[in-house]
C-alpha cells in the first residue's frame, strides 16, 4: 500500500486506545517504537493487513471514545496499523459528525434541533437557556462543548439531548473483536492513564430535556438519572394483541431467560425444523415488505441472496435509524434486544450466511449496551457461535457503531462505512444481494423487518398474511410524536387509517399538518385523516409511509422554519458524492431561507419555481434516495399545505 505519513506521533493514550482494539504492533513497520534487526530484514503484511481496513471505523471510535478527538498522530498510527493511506483515513474520519479532527473538550453535548424537538413547545426558550448555561454552540467552555444535532431518535420525549464524555475507563466494547477476545474494556496497559472518575467514559441521555438537566449531564454525565424504561415509549404496552411489541415493557431486556419465558427462540427452533428453503418460502409467502422505507419484499431479497454462488454470504442489520422522527428501532432494541439477535440468526440461516453485522446508530448508547449484553449472553448460551442451538449451524454477530451520518442508513453507504470507507452510496446495480458487504452477497434488513420474521414463523405465513391488507401484510409500527397526548410507538395492523392512529395517540384538534415518513417523506393536511396507513394507500394519496413517522404539527408550529430545518438537514447530510444532491440541497436551503424571511411577492414565486426545478433535478439525477427525496417534504408542503401561498 502506498502510505505517506507526516511526522506526527501518537500520544501514549492514543496508542493504547488503538492497541486495545488491535493488539500490540508486531513490528516497527506497523508502528512499534524500536526497529529490531528482524524488522529490517523481513516484513509481513500484504493482504492480511489490508483486509483489516474495516477496523478503521472501530479504531476511530476507540480513539474518540478515549481522548474525545482524533489527532493527526493518532490517525497516522491507526493507519500504520491497518495499512490505510492517512489521506483516505482523514476522508473517513471527517465524514462523520461524531468525530473531530481538531482538539475539543472531553464532553460533547448533542442537543437535538430537528423537527420533533424544534416543534416541541418552548423549543426556542430551551435553546436560548442552553446557550446561557453552556455558551454558544461549538465553543468550548469548562471542558464542555455543545452542538446542535439532527434527530436523536427520542421524539416521544422531545426535546432531547445526548452528552458523551470521553474517558479511559468504561469505553463501549470495541467492535471488531469477537467474544473470545473481547477483553478490551478492561483497564488499559498504559500506566500513565489516570483512573480518576473524570476520565471515565460516560454517556447521558436527557429527554425530555430542560436546560438545567442538560447542564447537569454536561458537567457529570456519569451521575445523570437512568433513562425511563423503554416500555414507557409504548403506550399500548401489555396489550395482548401486540405482536412486535409484545415483550416491550414486559420482559427484562437484560435477561435471556425472561426472553425465552416469553416465547423467545421459538421462531428459530421452528426455522431449524423447516430448513432454510422452507424458511425462505414462509417469508416470501407472508408478503412481508421491508419496513425501512423502501418496502421491498423481504422474501425475494433473501432468496436472491441465498441463491448466489459467491461465498461467503452476509446478513446486515441496518440499525442506523436516523430518519428524523423515527425511533421505533431504538425502542425495539432497548426493550427487546434478543428478538433482534434471534431474527438475525434466522436471516443468516435462511440466506446461508454465517456472519451478521449489526450496524447501530452511534447516538444510541443504551441500545448499544443492551445489544452488546444480549450478544454476549447469546454466545454464552450457545445461541450464537459455532453450533447454534446444537443444530450444527454457525452464526455470529458483530456490532458496529455508526458515527453520525444519516446517509449510512442507505444500505450501500452502510456497507462502505462498515468496510472502513467514507459512507458514500454505491451505484446500483450490482445490488447488495449480489455484491454487497465486502463485495459479497448480502441480505440487508431494517430492525423492524427482521423482528417481523419472528411473527411470520410463529404464526405461519398464511396467518401472518391474513393480518393487514392484501398488499401490505402484517403489523406495522408507527412513531407518533408532536402534538399528541400519548406520543410513542404504536403497533397497528396495516389498514388502519391515519385518523385511527391519531385518535389512539390523542391528537389535538385542528392539526395544521402531519408529516408522514420523516424528512424524506411528505406532509399531509390535518384533515386528511381517512388516508389508509398502508403502502398502497399512502401511495394513492400521493404521499408515503416511509419509516412510519407520524409527526403531528399544530397551528403554533412555524412551518417555514420547519421546512428550513428539513432543508438544512439534507444539506448537512448530503455525502457530496453526486452533483445534483450536493448542489441541489444547498440551493434548496438558500431558497427556503429567503422564503422564511419573506413569503410574498414576485420574489417568492421565483424561489418556488427555482425550488421545483432544483427538486426535479435532485429527484431525477441523484445516485441515492437521499437526493431523490430531499425535495419531497418541501414539495408536499407547498402543494398540499399551501405553504408560502
Amino acid at each position: 500500500m502506498d502510505l505517506r505519513f507526516g511526522d506526527s506521533k501518537p500520544t501514549d493514550e492514543e496508542k493504547a486506545a488503538v492497541d486495545d482494539l488491535l493488539g500490540p504492533p508486531t513490528s516497527a513497520w506497523e508502528g512499534a517504537d524500536d526497529r529490531s534487526t528482524g524488522d529490517l530484514r523481513w516484513a509481513q503484511g500484504g493482504r492480511e493487513a489490508r483486509e483489516r481496513r474495516d477496523l478503521l471505523l472501530p479504531g476511530l471510535h476507540a480513539v474518540n471514545d478515549r481522548v474525545g478527538w482524533i489527532s493527526e498522530g493518532a490517525l497516522s498510527y491507526l493507519c500504520r496499523r491497518l495499512t490505510v493511506p492517512p489521506a483516505e483515513a482523514y476522508g473517513v474520519a471527517t465524514f462523520y459528525s461524531m468525530f473531530s479532527m481538531r482538539p475539543r473538550p472531553a464532553t460533547v453535548v448533542h442537543v437535538c434541533t430537528d423537527i420533533a424537538c424544534a416543534a416541541a413547545p418552548g423549543a426556542d426558550d430551551f435553546k436560548a437557556d442552553v446557550e446561557r448555561r453552556l455558551g454558544p454552540s461549538g465553543e468550548a467552555r469548562e471542558g464542555v462543548v455543545w452542538e446542535p444535532s439532527p434527530c436523536l431518535g427520542l421524539c416521544e420525549r422531545a426535546p432531547a439531548a445526548l452528552a458523551i464524555r470521553a474517558g479511559v475507563q468504561g469505553c463501549p466494547a470495541l467492535a471488531g473483536s469477537t467474544a473470545q477476545d473481547a477483553t478490551a474494556t478492561s483497564a488499559p496497559a498504559s500506566a500513565s492513564a489516570s483512573l480518576t472518575e473524570e476520565r471515565t467514559y460516560a454517556t447521558a441521555v436527557v429527554a425530555p430535556a430542560t436546560a438545567e438537566a442538560v447542564e447537569a449531564a454536561a458537567r457529570a454525565p456519569q451521575d445523570a438519572p437512568e433513562e425511563p424504561d423503554a416500555g414507557l415509549a409504548v403506550p399500548q404496552a401489555g396489550d395482548p394483541s401486540l405482536k412486535l411489541l409484545s415483550r416491550i415493557g414486559v420482559v427484562d431486556p437484560a435477561s435471556l431467560d425472561d426472553y425465552r419465558a416469553h416465547g423467545g427462540y421459538r421462531a428459530l427452533r421452528r426455522a431449524f425444523k423447516l430448513g432454510p428453503a422452507a424458511v425462505l418460502r414462509e417469508v416470501t409467502d407472508s408478503g412481508l415488505l421491508g419496513r425501512g422505507g423502501a418496502a421491498f419484499p423481504t422474501g425475494r431479497k433473501w432468496q436472491a441472496t441465498a441463491a448466489q454462488p459467491d461465498q461467503p454470504h452476509y446478513v446486515v442489520c441496518n440499525a442506523d435509524e436516523s430518519e428524523p422522527g423515527t425511533f421505533k428501532d431504538r425502542v425495539l432494541m432497548e426493550g427487546d434486544p434478543y428478538a433482534l439477535i434471534e431474527s438475525m440468526t434466522i436471516a443468516g440461516y435462511a440466506t446461508g450466511a454465517h456472519k451478521g453485522f449489526l450496524y447501530l446508530r452511534g447516538e444510541y448508547p443504551r441500545a448499544l449496551r443492551r445489544l452488546e449484553h444480549a450478544v454476549e449472553q447469546a454466545r454464552t448460551r450457545g445461541l450464537l457461535g459455532p453450533d447454534v442451538l446444537g443444530q450444527g449451524y454457525a452464526f455470529d454477530i458483530e456490532i458496529r457503531r455508526g458515527a453520525g451520518a444519516y446517509i449510512c442508513g442507505e444500505e450501500t453507504a452502510l456497507f462502505n462505512s462498515l468496510e472502513g470507507n467514507r459512507g458514500e452510496p454505491r451505484s446500483k446495480p450490482p445490488f447488495p444481494v449480489e455484491k454487497g458487504l465486502f463485495g459479497k452477497p448480502t441480505a440487508a434488513n431494517n430492525v423492524e423487518t427482521l423482528v417481523n420474521v419472528l411473527t411470520v414463523l410463529e404464526l405461519g405465513a398464511e396467518a401472518y398474511a391474513a393480518i393487514g391488507t392484501g398488499n401490505s401484510t402484517g403489523p406495522k409500527l408507527f412513531c407518533v410524536a408532536g402534538s399528541v397526548e400519548r406520543p410513542g410507538i404504536y403497533e397497528l395492523p396495516f389498514g388502519a387509517t391515519l385518523g385511527d392512529l391519531l385518535q389512539l395517540a390523542g391528537a389535538a384538534e385542528g392539526l395544521r399538518a402531519i408529516l408522514l415518513g420523516g424528512a424524506a417523506g411528505g406532509f399531509v393536511r390535518g384533515d386528511e385523516l381517512d388516508i389508509p396507513l398502508t403502502f398502497e394507500g399512502t401511495r394513492e394519496a400521493g404521499t408515503t409511509l416511509g419509516s412510519g413517522v407520524v409527526l403531528a404539527l399544530d397551528s403554533t408550529v412555524p412551518l417555514p422554519q420547519i421546512l428550513l430545518r428539513i432543508a438544512e438537514f439534507f444539506r448537512d447530510e448530503s455525502c457530496g458524492q453526486c452533483v445534483p444532491c450536493r448542489i441541489g440541497t444547498v440551493r434548496q436551503e438558500e431558497a427556503l431561507g429567503r422564503l422564511a424571511e419573506r413569503t410574498e411577492g414576485p420574489g417568492a414565486a421565483d424561489d418556488i419555481a427555482l425550488l421545483r426545478e432544483v427538486g426535479e433535478a435532485m429527484r431525477d439525477a441523484s445516485i441515492c434516495g437521499l437526493g431523490q427525496t430531499a425535495w419531497n417534504a418541501v414539495e408536499s408542503a407547498i402543494d398540499r399545505l399551501g405553504a408560502y401561498a
Binding site: R35, W42, Q44
Partner: protein, 650 residues
C-alpha cells in the same frame, strides 16, 4: 539551509533542438548549420574514418525509445553501409543480462509471459524491482493481480514502495541474490516440492544444479543474505506450491558485475518448479524504455540480426546477405561497454549516437566523457542538446518518436504496437529514418523507404517472428505479441509452451539449469568505505532526467543521499544537510534524506539529476563479462560531514 523547490522544472531545462549544429574544430563552439552542411560533415567523417581505419572503427548507439523502424534502419546502416556489427543501445546498461540469461536457458531473450497473466496469477515475486516507482504501468497490472487474489513477494535490500504491497518482504544484502535463490532452490528440492515431471521432460543439468545449491542451507543463506531462514523458507514454499507464479525482476538483478548469473539463478527456480511455458506462470524482466525490447528485436545489438537471429549462424547470414545485397562478418560486434573501451584504445574512432545520452547514463561518467572526447568524429542525433550532444562534432535535430513519427514499438510483453504521428516536428527537425537515409545516400546507397510501413514490411520479410504482423493486423488487434509467424493466427500469450510437449521432437532443446556461483560485489566495503550504496529510480523522474526534468512534479525533490535513521543519527547528520559522498572513484556533494526503508549500512541514490549530483561518478564500471552491464547497484562509499561554513548552500 536553503530550501530547494525541485517540483519546478529547472530554469536551464533542455530546449528542443530545431536546427543542425556543427563544430568547426575540436574544442571550438557548436554553431548553427544548414542541413546540407551538417549532413555532409557527418558523412565525410564516417567515410574518411572507414577508409583510414576500417569498418570496425565505427560504432552506432541506437535508441531504445525510438521506433522499431528507426532501429531497423540504424542497424542496417551499421551493417550494410559501414560494414560492422558495432551497434548497441542503452539496453546494455539495464537488461542485457536478462536477454543473455533468457536466451541461454530458453533460447529466446524476451519475457515469457504477458501482462494479462500477471492479473490472473496466484503468486508474483518482484525480485530486485521497485516496480511501483520504476514501472508504474506494469505495477497497475500487478495491483490488479493482487486485487484478484494474487499474493506478492518482494525481494529488495530496501523496503520499497513495492515491498509495502507485499505479503512478505525479504531485505537481503546487496549482491546476495544468488545465495538467496540457491537457498530457495535447495529448500524446494529438500521439501520434495520440485516439479520432477517438468525437470525430467524439459530441462538439462539438474543434477549439477542440485549439487551446486546443496551447500546453501537456509542458515548459511541467512548468514550471507541477512534474511531470516523462516522468510526464505516461506518464499520457497509459496513459490513452489503456487499453481501459477510470475517471477519478475528488474535492474536489482541485472546491474551487477555478474548480472547474467543472477538472471540464470532466478530462471533456475522457474525450471525447478515448472513455472514457465504455461499460462499464468512465467518469467518477466521488466523493461524500462518503451522500446528497449524492440531495439534488440530489430537487431540493434552486436550479436543478433533482426528478429533476434544469430549473427554466427551461416544460414541466417546468407539470408540477410541475399536480402540486403551485402556480406556480413561472421562474428559479433562490440557492445556498448566494449565500444567505450575501444574508444580509449583508439580502435573505435567515430560514433553515430541516436537518441542516447551515455555521457550521463554510463557508470563512472568521468571516464565516459573522457572517452567520448577522445573520438575523432561524433555525430549525435537527438531532440535535445544533451550532455553527449554537447561533445559532438555534428548535432542533427530529430523527431520525438512518440508523437512526431509513424511506426511501431515493442513493450515488455513482446507486444508490437503502432505509434502514430500527431505533430509535425519543430523548426528544421527531421524524421530519424530520413536523416539516416540521407547519410546513406551520401555514402552511395540509395535507400528509398516510402514510409515507415515500407521499413516494417522489409523487416517482416527477414524476421519470421514478425512476419504475421502487418500494419493492418497491428491496428486490428491493438498490437500483437511476437512470435507471430503467420498472418492467419495469433500465438499464445506465453512463450515456451513447447517445453510441456510430450513429443520430444516438438519439445525441442531442453532448458538448461544455469550452474552459477555466488560472487560478492566487486566494490567491497571496509573501514574507509563503510556504506553500501545502491542506486535506483523514483516515480517522478526518468533516467538521467533529460525527458522528465522539464516537467513539473509535486513529488520531485531532487537528488539526495538517502540514509536510514540509525545511520543519520550515528553520523550526526540531518535531512537537507549537505555531506560529501566519496567512493573509490569519485566524490560528490549531496544533501541528506532520511528514509526508514533503508537499514544501517545501506545508502541509496538515484541518477535522475546528474547536473546536480553526478551519482555515476561514484558507481563502479565493473562489468558483467557476458552482457557488459555495469554494477550500478553496489558501490562502497563513505559520507563526511562538511565544515560548518560550507554546509550553507550558495
Amino acid at each position: 539551509m536553503k530550501q530547494r523547490d525541485r517540483g519546478k522544472p529547472p530554469s536551464a531545462g533542455y530546449p528542443r533542438l530545431k536546427h543542425p549544429l556543427v563544430r568547426d574544430e575540436k574544442g571550438g563552439p557548436l554553431r548553427r548549420a544548414s542541413w546540407d552542411e551538417a549532413l555532409e560533415k557527418a558523412t565525410e567523417g564516417f567515410r574518411r574514418i572507414r577508409a583510414e581505419h576500417g569498418p570496425d572503427a565505427f560504432g552506432m548507439f541506437s535508441c531504445a525509445r525510438a521506433t522499431n523502424e528507426m532501429n531497423y534502419v540504424a542497424q542496417k546502416f551499421t551493417r550494410v553501409i559501414m560494414g560492422t556489427h558495432n551497434v548497441d543501445s542503452c539496453n546494455r546498461t539495464c537488461h542485457a543480462p536478462s536477454v543473455a540469461g533468457l536466451s541461454a536457458a530458453l533460447g529466446s531473450g524476451g519475457g515469457t509471459s504477458s501482462y494479462e497473466e500477471v492479473e490472473t496469477t496466484d503468486l508474483i515475486v518482484m525480485w530486485g524491482s521497485n516496480a511501483r516507482f520504476a514501472h508504474p504501468i506494469f505495477f497497475q497490472h500487478v495491483l490488479r493481480g493482487i486485487r484478484n487474489g494474487a499474493r506478492m513477494y518482494a525481494v529488495d535490500p530496501r523496503r520499497t514502495s513495492t515491498a509495502e504491497w507485499a505479503e512478505s518482504w525479504l531485505g537481503l544484502n546487496v549482491g546476495t541474490d544468488i545465495p538467496l535463490a540457491h537457498a530457495i532452490g535447495r529448500e524446494i528440492i529438500h521439501a520434495g516440492l520440485a516439479n520432477h515431471a517438468f525437470i525430467e521432460r524439459a530441462t538439462s543439468d539438474f543434477e549439477e544444479y542440485k549439487a551446486e545449491v546443496e551447500p546453501w542451507t537456509l542458515s548459511v543463506a541467512e548468514q550471507v543474505t541477512g534474511v531470516p531462514a523462516d522468510a526464505i523458507r516461506d518464499l520457497a514454499h509459496a513459490y513452489a506450491t503456487a499453481e501459477r507464479a510470475q517471477l519478475c525482476w528488474t535492474l536489482g538483478i541485472t546491474e551487477h558485475h555478474n548480472g547474467t548469473d543472477n538472471v540464470r539463478a532466478l530462471i533456475n527456480l522457474s525450471l525447478l518448479t515448472g513455472h514457465v511455458g504455461r499460462y499464468g506462470s512465467g518469467l518477466q524482466p521488466l523493461r524500462g524504455q518503451n522500446n528497449v525490447q524492440g531495439g534488440g528485436d530489430m537487431g540493434a545489438i552486436p550479436d543478433r540480426l533482426p528478429g533476434f537471429q544469430n549473427v554466427l549462424d551461416p544460414e541466417t547470414r546468407a539470408k540477410f546477405e541475399a536480402a540486403w545485397g551485402t556480406t556480413l562478418e561472421p562474428r559479433h560486434g562490440r557492445n556498448l561497454t566494449a565500444m567505450f573501451e575501444a574508444m580509449e584504445s583508439g580502435e573505435l574512432r567515430t560514433v553515430y549516437c541516436i537518441g542516447e545520452n551515455p555521457a550521463q547514463s554510463e557508470a563512472d561518467t568521468g571516464q565516459a566523457v573522457e572517452r567520448l572526447q577522445a573520438l575523432e568524429h561524433l555525430v549525435v542525433q537527438d531532440i535535445f542538446l544533451t550532455k553527449t550532444a554537447e561533445l559532438a562534432d555534428v548535432v542533427l535535430p530529430a523527431t520525438a518518436a512518440w508523437c512526431e513519427t509513424d511506426g511501431t514499438t515493442t513493450n515488455s510483453e513482446r507486444r508490437v504496437q503502432r505509434v502514430r504521428k500527431a505533430l509535425s516536428p519543430p523548426g528544421e527537425a527531421r524524421e530519424d529514418i530520413d536523416i539516416i537515409c540521407d547519410i546513406a545516400e551520401r555514402l552511395g546507397h540509395e535507400w528509398k523507404f516510402a514510409d515507415s510501413q515500407a521499413v516494417w514490411d522489409e523487416l517482416r520479410s527477414v524476421s519470421p517472428d514478425h512476419y504475421g504482423m502487418t500494419y493492418e493486423r497491428l491496428a486490428e488487434h491493438q498490437g500483437i505479441q511476437w512470435p507471430c509467424p503467420s498472418t492467419d493466427r495469433i500465438e499464445p500469450t506465453y512463450m515456451h509452451g513447447r517445453l510441456w510437449e510430450t513429443d520430444p521432437a516438438k519439445r525441442g532443446k531442453a532448458a538448461a539449469f544455469g550452474i552459477v556461483k555466488h560472487d560478492p560485489p566487486v566494490d567491497l566495503t571496509d573501514e574507509d568505505f563503510p556504506l553500501r550504496l545502491t542506486t535506483g529510480r523514483r516515480l517522478d523522474s526518468y533516467n538521467t532526467g533529460v525527458q522528465s526534468g522539464s516537467y513539473a512534479s509535486p513529488l520531485r525533490r531532487g537528488e539526495y543521499i538517502e540514509l536510514c535513521p540509525e545511520d543519520a543519527a550515528q553520523y550526526g547528520v540531518v535531512t537537507e544537510e549537505e555531506v560529501r559522498v566519496t567512493s573509490r572513484r569519485g566524490s560528490v556533494l549531496a544533501p541528506v534524506w532520511v528514509d526508514p526503508a533503508l537499514r544501517p549500512g545501506l545508502a541509496f541514490m538515484t541518477m535522475h539529476f546528474p547536473d546536480e549530483v553526478d551519482t555515476n561518478q561514484l558507481t563502479i564500471e565493473a562489468n558483467c563479462p557476458i552482457a557488459g552491464t555495469a554494477e550500478f547497484k553496489a558501490s562502497a562509499i563513505r559520507i563526511e560531514k562538511l565544515p560548518v561554513a560550507a554546509a550553507v548552500r550558495s
